[in-house]
Symmetry: C2
């Protein structure tokens, strides 16, 4: 269809009506976009996919049973739609899988209440149901450590200072304003390639924190409890801390590693509940707790990504790829981080198949594992298949040489408003064409600047075009990202549908254009 049209355009061009000269060689196939739109807006399955990834199988901590169940679901769904060569592709050693089997924390005195919280990932559990007391580790200086000697044994230690939530005078949910988009549109390329993760106040100097951990361990605390940022019953649980001497050299051992040392059971608790316990303890009251916390480790294994493709035709060795990370944190269901991305990618694949495309290049989907532990899945994939950076130069594989472009999605469930160009000015006119069908929906911004922190970076790092979309945040950074309430309710259906249509459009555009996507 596309080819036929190209020939037609060429023929028309020879007939030389001057207005037709305006037809860009990367002009979108509007008939195909209409097909995507019809299927993607009227018969969308994106919310069903999302629910399968979150409600039914999530959360999806890498190598956990939830991750594997979701991967199996994704594989069979993709296969069901006719996507080819769907397989699990190892990205190398990851460490242990882990999951929660039971968690209940009850305050039995001075006043009964049931605590909102959860184990940190890869935390050990405790055997049986423990009745014990809480103690608040109110340590501001090293001298303060002394007064807790002999007092922590068998106790649950409240480890941090309370974080007081503040009233929300700004809306939690936002869309990008014209003014913000304009700044992005006018931004210059940035050197910040890797991007920086958001950081939150650690509460205490690193060495003092390390000594607090060591004290809890040497004194035989039963478990360590941390108050979470967040409010209103939402909390943020990531990986358990492996206490590490900040003066030591060498790589830090992560909690999932095969060789991780034994650590104390670690619990994160909603701010209001944690703070209440601290206030009760500061008032001199005895806080009695009842803790049931059962977690299970699975054997160390390689991590894996889920890969599938629509084989290309005349240029099938050349690959256009899109993807999102399948893994998540464990206390919610990892909806906006990043089941929405996976659902968009899967739905885009379904739209391409439903439209019966026979692309020139191969269109491949990559659902990554281990993103939350440092982009492990995408990094492993790039190294294994596409190339690597050695010292200051990049060595691409044969497959890498023929690789066209990678589109990533991982910034929550909001509507895409454009594309970060990652400093690659060459792609601007191409993306400008592909955005045309979406301009009327507010999606038209191209920003030369970078965005980081997710799975397009390993591609970008070896000089391959890797992009991420400019996305309306909705409640992403305010409330859902990494939170216990990153659940199905956080998704905005209309936005996901639209994004899937747009992704299919970008993929087929890249797959059928004359050349590979231009590199920087």
């Amino acid at each position: 269809m596309k080819k036929f049209r190209s020939y037609l355009y060429a023929a028309l061009l020879m007939l030389s009506a001057p207005t037709l000269l305006a037809q860009h060689r990367d002009a979108v196939d509007t008939a195909l976009v209409s097909k995507f739109r019809k299927e993607g807006l009227k018969n969308s399955r994106v919310m069903e996919i999302l629910s399968m990834l979150t409600d039914m199988n999530g959360p999806r901590l890498t190598n956990s049973p939830g991750y594997k169940n979701a991967a199996n679901y994704a594989k069979s769904a993709l296969e069901g739609w006719g996507v080819g060569n769907v397989h699990f592709d190892s990205f190398g050693p990851f460490g242990r899988g882990w999951f929660v089997k039971k968690f209940s924390l009850q305050v039995m005195a001075p006043v009964y209440f049931s605590v909102i919280g959860y184990p940190k990932a890869w935390s050990p559990g405790v055997k049986g149901t423990h009745k014990t007391e809480a103690i608040y580790l109110d340590v501001k200086t090293e001298e303060d450590l002394e007064k807790y000697k002999g007092k922590l044994k068998g106790k649950i230690v409240l480890f941090d200072f309370p974080i007081m939530p503040k009233p929300a005078f700004k809306p939690d949910a936002t869309r990008l304003t014209d003014s913000t988009l304009l700044k992005m549109a006018n931004a210059a390329a940035s050197n910040r390639s890797g991007g920086s993760r958001r950081r939150f106040a650690a509460g205490a100097p690193e060495m003092l924190t390390y000594k607090k951990w060591r004290l809890c361990e040497s004194e035989g605390a039963l478990a360590v409890m941390e108050g979470s940022r967040g409010s209103y019953g939402t909390f943020y649980a990531s990986a358990a801390t492996v206490p590490t001497d900040p003066t030591a050299t060498g790589a830090r051992v992560s909690a999932q590693a095969d060789n991780a040392p034994e650590i104390l059971p670690q619990i994160v608790v909603a701010a209001e509940h944690y703070n209440r316990l601290v206030r009760q303890l500061q008032q001199g009251l005895t806080v009695k707790l009842e803790l049931a916390m059962e977690t299970e480790f699975t054997k160390p294994e390689d991590g894996f990504n889920v890969i599938g493709e629509i084989p290309g035709t005349d240029k099938k060795e050349e690959v256009v790829m899109f993807g999102a990370h399948l893994d998540s944190w464990h206390s919610g269901t990892g909806t906006t981080d990043n089941a929405v991305g996976v659902a968009i990618c899967m739905e885009a694949m379904r739209l391409l198949k439903a439209a019966g495309v026979q692309p020139s290049r191969t269109i491949r989907i990559g659902l990554w594992g281990g993103e939350e532990q440092g982009l492990l899945g995408s990094t492993g994939y790039v190294k294994k298949h596409l190339g690597e950076r050695v010292a200051d130069s990049v060595k691409l594989t044969a497959e890498g040489e023929k690789f066209s472009v990678y589109f990533n999605t991982d910034n929550g469930g909001g509507r895409w408003r454009g594309v970060y160009l990652q400093g690659n000015e060459n792609v601007r006119p191409i993306f400008r064409e592909w955005l045309k069908p979406f301009e009327k929906d507010g999606t038209s911004t191209l920003s030369l600047s970078n965005t980081g922190s997710t799975d397009h970076i390993p591609f970008d790092n070896v000089g391959l075009p890797g992009f991420q979309f400019i996305t309306d945040p909705i409640e992403y950074f305010a409330r859902s990202w990494h939170s216990s309430m990153d659940m199905y309710e956080r998704a905005v259906e209309a936005d996901l549908k639209q994004n899937a249509v747009m992704l299919a459009t970008f993929a087929i555009g890249a797959a059928n254009r004359e050349g590979l996507m231009p590199r920087k």
Copy 2:
């Protein structure tokens, strides 16, 4: 002090400098207000009081141990500050006390998670820890009921349709804008005296809902689970439903009543968790739950208010009163509803004592019980001590005849921005004077209109001046009112301090002015 100044002003008046004619006879005693302000802003104890009412003793469901502990705390604190005649004053039969001893709801399959929720007040518990299955009562018509016959026995029934939270594009926290305050300032008196409580969609017609309850009972369900409004792990738990035939006549029996019929255990669950379970069940998955839910009833007793006073001097039979309800719902700690009100009142009493006032009239504090069950404490107090409405006329007691005014506070922890006049135009010039010291802090609006739904209404109903303050909502209606997260963190310290100073100012103004407060 006040009297001396009045004489002085009178003397100055006779000397007749025309500008002095502007001195209103209700002008505030600015030296005294300075004292209140100094003590109330610099040595405030309002947050300590609040923490004692919430963290240490709350929640305070009427007649529960928490209510009694908080009442004992309030009594001893007031006595400690020199407040006189502090006592518990019965407001008549209330019913049973009740509290939660344990609640844990675990989803064991298809995917483990720990559910955020709580028993509804006065719900029975279940014996031991039950492992059972969930079933979703997807009933839209009476015919739908049939398909659940024989299927509910021993199960936990998901009773309601899911309520989907939406992204919050408006801020949760607000202060009243000038534009809103102006509308209030320009409002006419309203006939709506009793005020209306906010109502939320019931989800199904009343008769169908009743039949659903009866089905659950007759089929022997283990417990009924309802999804809550709210989001992000916040839920709203009020009294257990006593299923009542909507065609039956006569008063409804409430769950706390001595003669309440046996009802099923009832659980309220955070929207995201409830909805996830519904989606799993709709997908055909088996949802296995583990429920521990222990509640305890105490014997039926009279309810009581906490009353205390600073005795008047020359007009000690005349009473100026302020108050707030001490009781709360049970799933949070009842901070903005209404420990903040109690803390403001107690702190105002402390400020009056600290300033060493010797008021002309008696200044009395009333901390009410049973407000959440229908203003029972304040209604009982008014009837017992002040008067009652018989048919269309009001019959005041001798004490009622000498009663001056009641100030109530019960609209969350925000700053007071003025006063609702309840249609009483006569008090406008008086309040205008008393507001003067607070105008610069944005507190200057007098609205002729009414506000309802709380404890000034019983006073207003018998024609006694009863007022409630215009209050910045902060997150009151958006998130904290009646919610599981109505906890200490919701209070705004600076606002509570300011309100306490203002309440002390109004109280002493009313206590020392020439006459009783004018009635409507």
